[in-house]
């Protein structure tokens, strides 16, 4: 039997959050953490978490699994159970709505701040805008972000300044548009980021890189943005 300890909090019932222990029989199978939660929800229908695609592409089920942020649907028990125990908490640093569901408003607000859409005010051609394979390759490792918030909620700089520091996810997306050969908004984008907090609160701790379930590297993207800001300033 596996001991599963889950963070519980229902604002209508509980004065404060607590950890609840469940016993779970995985029948020796290396199933995903999401499968465990689904089965526990049959036992206790009040257990609440988000989920959708169950294959690691929608970004719904980011949570803190035995101390590390990740997606429950692609985290097998073999990677999550430590000393016979599985500990599941909500992603840290943002307000909890209920159980494992966090309020992501601040996270999304930072995403919106970077103008996450292509800017190109030149008249569009009758077909697609051409882009070389080399230029397109510059977007690899950037566009795949699924907005799960595993990175930003693992970032101490984001914990301290979630209202002012864009955070790794938002900055990865900022660079996705800066790096796009079709985007003509570079100057305005950099001006929008040129303050002491938006980018420069990143201290290169690299928790974001360690936890990203898609294997992306926000720290590297932030480095590129820093370089661009410094070049623009000189």
């Amino acid at each position: 039997m596996l001991n599963v300890s889950i963070y519980r909090y229902n604002p209508e019932v509980d004065s404060e959050p607590y950890m609840q222990d469940f016993q779970f029989d995985a029948e020796g199978k290396d199933i995903m953490v999401l499968d465990v939660l689904e089965k526990l929800k049959i036992q206790d229908p009040t257990l609440v978490f988000r989920r959708s695609c169950r294959e690691g592409v929608c970004g719904s089920d980011g949570m803190n699994i035995s101390g590390k942020n990740g997606l429950a649907c692609v985290t097998p028990l073999s990677a999550a159970v430590k000393k016979g125990k599985l500990v599941i908490r909500p992603l840290p640093g943002l307000p909890v709505i209920r159980d494992l569901v966090i309020d992501m408003t601040q996270f999304y607000a930072q995403y919106e701040k970077i103008q996450p859409y292509l800017i190109n005010n030149t008249p569009a051609p009758a077909i697609e805008r051409l882009q070389s394979q080399e230029d397109r390759a510059k977007l690899d490792g950037l566009y795949e972000c699924i907005l799960c918030a595993c990175c930003s909620t693992a970032c101490p700089s984001f914990w301290w300044n979630p209202d002012k520091f864009i955070g790794p996810s938002g900055l990865l997306q900022a660079y996705r548009f800066l790096a796009d050969s079709r985007d003509t908004g570079t100057e305005a984008r950099l001006a929008n980021l040129d303050d002491p907090f938006s980018v420069f609160r990143c201290h290169g701790i690299m928790n974001c890189v360690q936890v990203c379930p898609k294997g992306l590297n926000p720290t590297k993207a932030i480095g590129h943005i820093r370089d661009m800001l410094i070049r623009t300033a000189t």
Partner: protein, 590 residues
């Protein structure tokens, strides 16, 4: 009741996936007050899981490609019950819709010339089936749905669409004219119910693959729009037509794109034989999905399946080389390693046909207007009510959808619905307000659930429903089995109606949502079952052991399921093309 809050919009779209966000974008760009109600944050919608691409004759791979060839393939793929007018519109308008997405920033993969990369997909041909395999599916690696969905969300942010994220639509609100005047919706975070009033209500609620035990579909694909339409007394069309994707990962159900076979992968049985050569000598592994899925099941039934239980076949990719796989199919490598514990660079992926797509849905015209059928058998527009995407049956997929046509359907008809509603709004829409009783009616289901005492667990009932559908209404169907399945569903109905809701709390109560979703799933399942039993022929995805042949005399038509008396009617297929003579039904081989 009198104190229920009302929010008013010009247009409300239910569903934040590809078609919903494309419709919303169109309306928001024109300055109309537009809201999207979505039960998950928009980028969590199931469009995100689409992999291989979006099929469209943009003449990148082949400068001589023609949208008419794509039209021919689609009509043939549909086994001739797709509406030809709608297919013509989709294939002709497609390039414009694709280029718009590219201009919005969709990060398509590229050719050496810098154009959008296109790959071969099943059922594609040049020159009306006479010129060999075409490569017509536009791709962003194998993450096209993700790229498309994020691009559309970004476009909507730019145009300030109102998003009611994590809100669940409960039921349609109808006025005394039987016109739709919005929806009753539940804010999942707070539990508040709100009447969202609108001059145009668009259902972009996606599919319902979760009626089956084994599906590529996300947990959220529970047919909420179909459930709401049926409860409102509106019919659904061709709902017996369910696509089983040939390559779901054995055991997990997760999708492995047809693009794998497009890039040169192929299926083998336990003897290592490339068996599709026997079933489809020309197209082989790129025959229509229904054809490939049936061939796989036959291989398994005849004892040539792989694995200790002989219950799957293998998809072989290793001969393509690591470099190609990393460049073209990076997401598949990830999924296979995670869910099949197989590294496609070195070993084959265990795959099995898995429920994937609902060809049927709410009947609409090319403007997205939802239709019902009057007593004389004529189409009648339901005022105020629209549908697009997988929830709709416009019908471009007929009895079998071609790979890559789903994303095209989403953007073309999401856009078309938006354009038409814009025009209607400009001309002025005047619908009667609903009465208190009308609002009350849209809350009845929720109230019943909230009052529940006892009853059975939603997850347990759902599993039972899924097992019935899987066992009695799968890849191969037979009348006597289906009658048994229908009887089992009938017995399940009262139990699902009385599903337990032990947790009555308001804040983010996902038990309540799952109970409501279960009721929607049931409506879809029952309509599927009754209609499948009624269609006494084999066509496209609907394959019957007791009626093995296509019957064009009796069944070259849409089925229409009427919920009030659970009757199955027929509706003519549109054979009127604007640009040429219609394609007459012919024998469908690959």
């Amino acid at each position: 009741m009198a104190n229920i809050r009302t929010m008013t919009f010009d247009a409300v779209i239910v569903g934040g996936g590809g078609s919903g966000m494309r419709a919303a974008l169109q309306l928001a760009q024109s300055g109309y007050k537009t809201a999207v109600i979505t039960k998950v944050f928009p980028t969590r919608s199931h469009t995100v899981s689409a992999q291989g691409g979006i099929t469209c004759a943009i003449a990148s791979d082949d400068p001589n490609d023609q949208w008419q060839w794509h039209m021919y393939d689609t009509i043939k793929g549909a086994d001739f019950i797709g509406d030809q007018e709608a297919i013509e519109y989709m294939c002709q308008t497609g390039p414009e819709a694709i280029f718009e997405l590219e201009h919005m920033g969709l990060p398509f993969s590229r050719t050496e010339e810098g154009r959008i990369y296109q790959r071969p997909f099943g059922g594609q041909s040049k020159d009306f089936g006479k010129g060999g395999q075409a490569a017509r599916t536009c791709a962003a690696a194998d993450r096209t749905g993700h790229a498309l969905l994020h691009t559309l969300y970004q476009g909507n942010l730019k145009n300030e669409t109102t998003f009611l994220n994590e809100w669940f639509a409960l039921d349609l609100v109808k006025n005394s004219d039987n016109a739709v005047v919005g929806v009753m919706a539940l804010n999942i975070e707070t539990g508040e119910t709100v009447y969202v009033k609108s001059k145009a209500t668009v259902f972009a609620t996606g599919g319902a693959g979760r009626i089956y035990a084994s599906t590529t579909n996300a947990h959220i694909c529970t047919g909420d729009g179909i459930g709401m339409a049926l409860r409102a007394g509106f019919p659904v069309q061709d709902i017996e037509m369910w696509q089983f994707h040939p390559t779901g990962i054995h055991g997990a159900g997760t999708l492995v794109t047809e693009g794998c076979r497009g890039e040169g992968g192929y299926l083998v049985n336990k003897d290592g034989e490339r068996f599709m050569e026997r079933y489809a000598p020309n197209a082989k592994d790129l025959a229509g999905r229904d054809v490939v899925a049936r061939s796989m099941v036959l291989e398994i039934l005849e004892g040539r399946g792989c694995g200790p239980d002989g219950d799957h076949v293998y998809l072989k990719l290793d001969h393509l080389g690591e470099e190609t796989l990393n460049a073209k199919l990076p997401g598949i490598l990830e999924l296979s390693r995670t869910f099949a514990h197989a590294d496609p660079v070195k070993e084959p992926i265990p795959v099995v046909p898995t429920c994937h797509y609902m060809m049927g849905g709410i009947p609409t015209n090319v403007n997205g207007q939802a239709l019902t059928i009057d007593s004389e058998g004529n189409d009648e527009v339901i005022e105020g009510f629209y549908a697009c995407g997988e929830a709709a049956c416009v019908s471009v997929h007929g009895a079998n959808r071609l790979g890559g046509n789903s994303l095209l359907d989403l953007v073309v008809f999401g856009r078309a619905s938006g354009i038409f509603i814009e025009q209607q709004l400009r001309e002025g829409i005047d619908l009667k307000d609903p009465s208190e009783a009308d609002l009350e009616a849209a809350l009845a289901g929720l109230n019943h659930l909230n009052d529940s005492t006892g009853g059975e667990n939603a997850a347990v009932l759902r599993a039972e429903l899924q097992t019935i559908m899987q066992n009695y209404f799968g890849v191969f169907r037979r009348g006597d089995f289906m009658q048994e399945g229908i009887a089992k569903l009938a017995a399940l109905r009262p139990r699902i109606k009385n599903v337990a809701l032990s947790d009555k709390s308001n804040a983010f109560n996902t038990s309540r949502i799952e109970a409501l979703e279960l009721q929607n799933l049931f409506e879809v399942a029952e309509a599927t079952a009754i209609t499948a039993e009624a269609r006494t022929e084999s066509r496209g995805a609907h394959a019957r052991d007791d009626f093995k042949e296509r019957d064009d005399v009796n069944w070259l038509c849409h089925s229409v399921f009427f919920p009030s008396d659970k009757r199955v009617g027929k509706r003519g297929v549109n054979f009127t093309l604007k640009t040429r003579d219609a394609f007459e039904p012919s024998i469908r081989t690959y």
